[in-house]
Symmetry: C2
Subunit: 444 residues, 2 copies
């Protein structure tokens, strides 16, 4: 069979005009991701502080085989499934809300002190799909807007853009969220006829700013959400990777009013290549047929986006959970150690290269997060995409201009260093290169 011969060609059709495609495709936030990936691809030999991907040293495909076997054993031994039923569970289409929801609920209880009905969990294709489902559900009217602590992960603004939802930035301030600014944004949005539906934030080691909310700020935020009648979208991909010591409870664990929709990711704690995440949406929804769960509404949307999350991929994550008693803290002891080591190495390396008494001492500064993947460096010159390209080409080091994480004008003199993917020798080399770039930018 060959294509094309004998058909009635009347010439190629005209190109589709980008202006005739959805507005999100002209939104800089969708281009951010493309640009950052593209430049990383063009300079594969550069030391990369750019990618927020998890540590790879412990990756082994053999673990995938082991996890699959472990989950199959679980289905046989704990649930009494026959061989045929095991095969069908992994290989056939599956439940829209997912098949590993009970294990996810156990994990949330073990690691986070969050007790949820497994029926309130929707297993998704990464936390990204979870964000998309929640925003698609909430955005029912052009007046609906999302609030997001800024700077923020581009994926939340991108998902909002896909559903024509405006994102209003809320300042992070010194405590991870500026509650005075939150009140101001809510007030001015309502005055302008907008409906703030939810507030998005990462309370633990935020991407990109690395900030965390202390317990008092969390309690105050929950009170503020109640006062302003907002849902909170709590995204928690980095919570397990603290630098040691106590971590305050998640917002969801403190959530007595059912205001928190919890976005979970296994990309950093499970396996990125499985693309499995989830959302806990135990909010009641009142419709003509009675009261249901928000999770079931999200499931209806999911059935028209991805139908269901690959049961095979879910099985891999389930096997990893089972192998560690459903604790991802235990499963990630080595990885958490590597992130702690790397974070310390980057912070020490910056201090060594930019001593307070040196020529850049008062002109280059950085934050000192208590965990997570990211450090933000502030410099006395404009950090734009052209500088990143020059850094990659002439200095062999990649990082992320912070302006990509702001919907407004913020971040113009900042860059984000991701510490998650490198080994100490690469960190040393990368920081040397970064220091050379910064020295060259010194005004003469």
């Amino acid at each position: 069979m060959t294509g094309g011969s004998g058909t009635t060609a009347v010439g190629a059709r005209a190109p589709i005009a980008l202006a005739d495609l959805h507005d999100s495709l002209a939104d800089p936030v969708l281009d951010s991701m493309t640009f950052l990936n593209e430049i990383a691809g063009r300079f594969p030999d550069a030391v990369s502080f750019a990618a927020g991907r998890p540590y790879e040293e412990f990756f082994e495909v053999e673990a995938v085989h082991r996890y699959l076997r472990r989950y199959c054993d679980h289905l046989r031994d704990e649930h009494g499934l026959s061989e045929g039923q095991v095969n069908r569970t992994l290989l056939q289409y599956g439940r829209t809300k997912g098949i590993v929801h009970h294990l996810v609920a156990t994990n949330l209880s073990v690691d986070e002190g969050i007790d949820v009905d497994p029926e309130a969990i929707v297993v998704t294709v990464g936390a990204q799909e979870a964000m998309f489902l929640v925003l698609r559900a909430l955005r029912s009217d052009p007046r609906d807007v999302l609030l997001a602590v800024s700077p923020n992960y581009v994926g939340i603004r991108g998902a909002a853009s896909l559903v024509d939802m405006t994102t209003l930035p809320v300042r992070d301030g010194s405590r991870g969220i500026d509650l005075v600014d939150l009140a101001r944004v809510v007030r001015s949005a309502r005055a302008a006829g907008q409906r703030p539906r939810a507030l998005y934030l990462v309370p633990d080691f935020a991407n990109p700013a690395g900030a965390s909310l202390d317990r008092d700020t969390r309690l105050a935020l929950l009170r503020a959400a109640s006062e302003h009648d907002l849902l909170i979208l709590e995204d928690n991909p980095y919570g397990l990777f603290h630098a040691g010591g106590d971590r305050p409870a998640t917002l969801k664990a403190m959530d007595d009013e059912g205001r928190v929709v919890y976005l979970g990711s296994f990309a950093k704690t499970g396996m990125p290549g499985a693309r499995v995440g989830y959302v806990v949406a135990d909010q009641p929804v009142a419709g003509p047929a009675g009261i249901g769960l928000l999770a079931d509404e999200l499931s209806k949307i999911k059935s028209m986006v991805t139908v269901n999350t690959s049961p095979l991929a879910q099985a891999v994550i389930a096997g990893k959970l089972l192998e560690h008693g459903c604790s991802l803290v235990r499963a990630n002891e080595r990885e958490a150690g590597a992130y702690r080591r790397n974070l310390r190495h980057v912070l020490d390396g910056l201090a060594a290269r930019f001593p307070k008494t040196g020529p850049e001492g008062d002109r280059v500064s950085w934050n000192t997060p208590a965990g997570g993947f990211f450090v933000v460096v502030t410099v006395p010159f404009v950090v734009d995409d052209a500088l990143l390209e020059r850094s990659a080409r002439d200095f062999g080091v990649l990082w992320t201009p912070m302006h990509h994480f702001y919907a407004d004008e913020g971040g113009s003199h900042q860059l984000r260093l991701s510490v998650s993917l490198l080994q100490p020798p690469q960190i040393e080399q990368g920081l040397d290169r970064l220091a050379a770039l910064i020295r060259e930018m010194r005004p003469v």
Copy 2:
């Protein structure tokens, strides 16, 4: 860590009003899927002609292990990847457009005579995500509408509903598409100020009607698309499962003008539990930065919906492709035989139970598709959801009321039988039960 204690509870918030969520959640098409799944779950012992899921007899988890190993060998032996690179390819985040695009392109060439640039392929979370991405891109204005040959798969209307895109039905008629009706719908839509952007159809063994377009109709449709300036969304999940004999080339293989966006699924031919599909979108898009591929615009949207399709899941499909020389025709010889056998069995079984000379001879009829998963039965009474419930409860047989596949009033006296999942003894039993129901509905 325990949740909730010590927080400032001020009582549970009020339920979210369904009316404050996106309109799609009140669209009957999203409820169709939920209702049909729910009733199947309530009557697990009924013989089910309802599910359009692929045949399960040959499912074996061991194949997953084998496919993964095969793909890893391929990466090592054909692409020279190191062990670390193999681990990262499967376990880390991956390219947004996918990692198995070259194998998909080879498969399209081998099985379908479609020659495409692998860069024009976006690997998706099933064909459902492909539909969503295309519709999200195309729906840029409230005037944009989708045409869809009716009756049709609920997933296309559901995806359209998520992006607030109206679907206008086009009659299938006796040839799989009624081109006179297509012209009428385009004309009246334009007269009403609407912009028909694309026409969706399944040219081979359509779900649910089983119809296929012959070669002349395909050529005429391509001419009509040119004349009306429409894109064609060609969805082809069942093409390989013909009952024998020649099959006309796909629209994409005949597409000289670049009008066809091709939606591919591995759910029926690869493995449903992998949730891997793809879209071929080689249309040029003209923007401020020059000419690009529609596939790259879809990729930008995908990065905000699911980030990328699980590389693990892609690896499983890739291994299956490699094991069969990238031919899914070869990979599915056993399955295609089972579907042929089942289709014949259902058609013969209907003929035996409703002979032309019997009491229902002129009142019960059915189509005779040349392949695929579905047979449509027409009966002399109204087929609604209440009848399905009665059929399941009192007669122990499930099927699908055809009205779910119509956006308008069609299908009121029809039911769909799916032949894909059963074995001959179950088919016999199921048809006996269906015949008993139909006899009981005979007017006295």
